[in-house]
């Protein structure tokens, strides 16, 4: 069975500093199945949907980890071929991403001007209702093309009617460690401990083997992470 995975950092195999302290749920799946993982940290649903449109027909099964609405793709020529930043520099997940990008030393004055325009766009122009509408349309198109897709909500706003999401696990683990989500460099694969990556692996494998397209991420399925997981969270 050939399986494709699409998604953001909740499905990718990359973590902070490219260190891999343990396998992610998608890597656990790739030990047992023929997996191609297209996920990229910070990517928008639009970006993944374009790849899905081109590739999905080559696969028997699709796992789609759905990010939040409102993410953008914004190319800057200066960074396009710079291996320090490629391939993810173009993914703008939040307004704070732009603040981080503006610190990149290689940027030209024109690049900075363009990022500031994007910043103003997000602040003044971007409309949540329209973003949610586009998001829903794209998801509907995914499930129309591939009704067998296993959809996994990464965030509370990812899939309408499915409030339980992967971010819940991150927040749960952060509360154990007395950390505020988003105030640290996250060395956890898919933003969760090894223990909870295993739980997600089990949930998805069950969906694959039993032809389910909907999964349950209810809180009672997840476990307390081991204490040394906290070492992977570096404060800013």
């Amino acid at each position: 069975m050939k399986i494709a995975i699409f998604g953001d950092s909740y499905a990718s195999t990359y973590a902070h500093n490219r260190a891999k302290p343990y396998p992610s749920w998608s890597e656990m799946l790739s030990i047992k199945y023929d997996i191609v993982n297209f996920s990229e940290n910070g990517s928008s649903l639009y970006y993944m949907k374009r790849i899905f449109d081109q590739e999905h027909q080559k696969f028997n099964k699709i796992i789609f980890c759905v990010t939040a609405p409102g993410r953008l793709e914004f190319k800057i020529d200066t960074l396009e071929n710079n291996l320090n930043y490629a391939p993810w520099y173009q993914h703008i997940s939040t307004i704070h991403t732009i603040k981080q990008r503006l610190k990149i030393p290689e940027l030209t004055e024109l690049d900075k001007k363009r990022y500031k325009i994007l910043y103003d766009y997000i602040l003044e122009i971007q409309d949540f209702e329209q973003e949610q509408y586009k998001h829903t349309m794209m998801l509907n198109d995914v499930t129309t093309q591939r009704p067998d897709t296993i959809l996994i909500p990464a965030f509370p706003t990812s899939i309408y009617g499915q409030p339980n999401c992967l971010e819940d696990i991150t927040r749960f683990e952060d509360s154990i460690f007395n950390k505020t989500t988003g105030t640290y460099f996250d060395g956890r694969l898919c933003h969760m401990s090894l223990e909870n990556n295993k739980v997600v692996f089990d949930i998805i494998e069950d969906a694959l083997l039993n032809n389910k397209s909907k999964i349950s991420l209810s809180r009672d399925r997840f476990v307390e992470p081991s204490a040394d997981t906290k070492l992977l969270l570096e404060d800013f």
Binding site: Y46, R50, E73, I117, D120, Q130, D141
Partner: protein, 224 residues
């Protein structure tokens, strides 16, 4: 037949204008032609974006209608601040000396969006909305914005040697119903009626459109 029309100014005939008595001397639209035969609800709005029309489409009880006619407008329009914008409208608004600083900043951000942020993802969403509509309502009749825009501009170029945008920028308003002269509104109306009567796909032949016979001042009225 009961028909619903969605779209922009190529469908927004005088029935929906704020001042319905404006330019009563200029002849009927293609929508008026179809009104002779059908019961029409026209949801078109001049200057509207596809998102605006699509939301109207989504929120309309389509089961009431035997046919839907949809004009999918240019992808270079956006719904923001409770209205529909393109770069021309923004630039016109920015000439207003009485704008508040906050509103001016918002307009400049919107202008910058069109110049620097708009990209292939906007075109993708545009096409996805059209696909979504045809999935929901497979028998929809689509009037292609590109064809209508070309036909309208051909009228302007052939007779007056100018594009419509240049005419607007010179301070004129377009008194032609749906941006076409009466004769071409009639031709368009007949082509649509032929599709409706024979249950055919809509295939507008703009080659059949004629050169407008009247003078410039009949079709374009000075407003500035």
């Amino acid at each position: 037949m009961k028909i619903a029309i969605f779209g922009d100014s190529f469908g927004d005939d005088h029935i929906n204008w704020i001042d319905q008595n404006r330019w009563l001397d200029v002849g009927p639209s293609w929508v008026d032609y179809l009104r002779q035969f059908h019961d029409i609800d026209n949801f078109s709005a001049g200057g509207s974006s596809l998102y605006f029309s699509k939301i109207r489409f989504d929120n309309t009880d389509l089961s009431k209608y035997d046919k839907i006619i949809f004009i999918a407008t240019s992808p270079y329009r956006r719904y923001n601040f409770g209205s529909n914008w393109n770069i021309g409208r923004i630039e016109t608004e920015l000439t207003n000396k009485n704008l508040s600083p906050e509103w001016r900043d918002q307009l400049l951000a919107l202008k910058s969006y069109f110049l620097y942020v708009w990209n292939e993802s906007d075109l993708y969403f545009h096409d996805l909305m059209i696909k979504d509509m045809t999935n929901m309502y497979p028998s929809i009749l689509r009037l292609r914005y590109g064809q209508l825009d070309e036909a309208s501009n051909n009228e302007c170029k052939k007779v007056y040697g100018r594009l419509l945008i240049d005419i607007f920028q010179a301070g004129y308003s377009d008194a032609r119903k749906c941006h076409l002269c009466e004769e071409n509104n009639l031709i368009l109306g007949k082509q649509i009626q032929h599709s409706l009567e024979n249950n055919l796909d809509l295939n507008i032949d703009v080659e059949k459109f004629v050169t407008p016979p009247r003078e410039f001042e009949y079709y374009f009225r000075k407003t500035v």
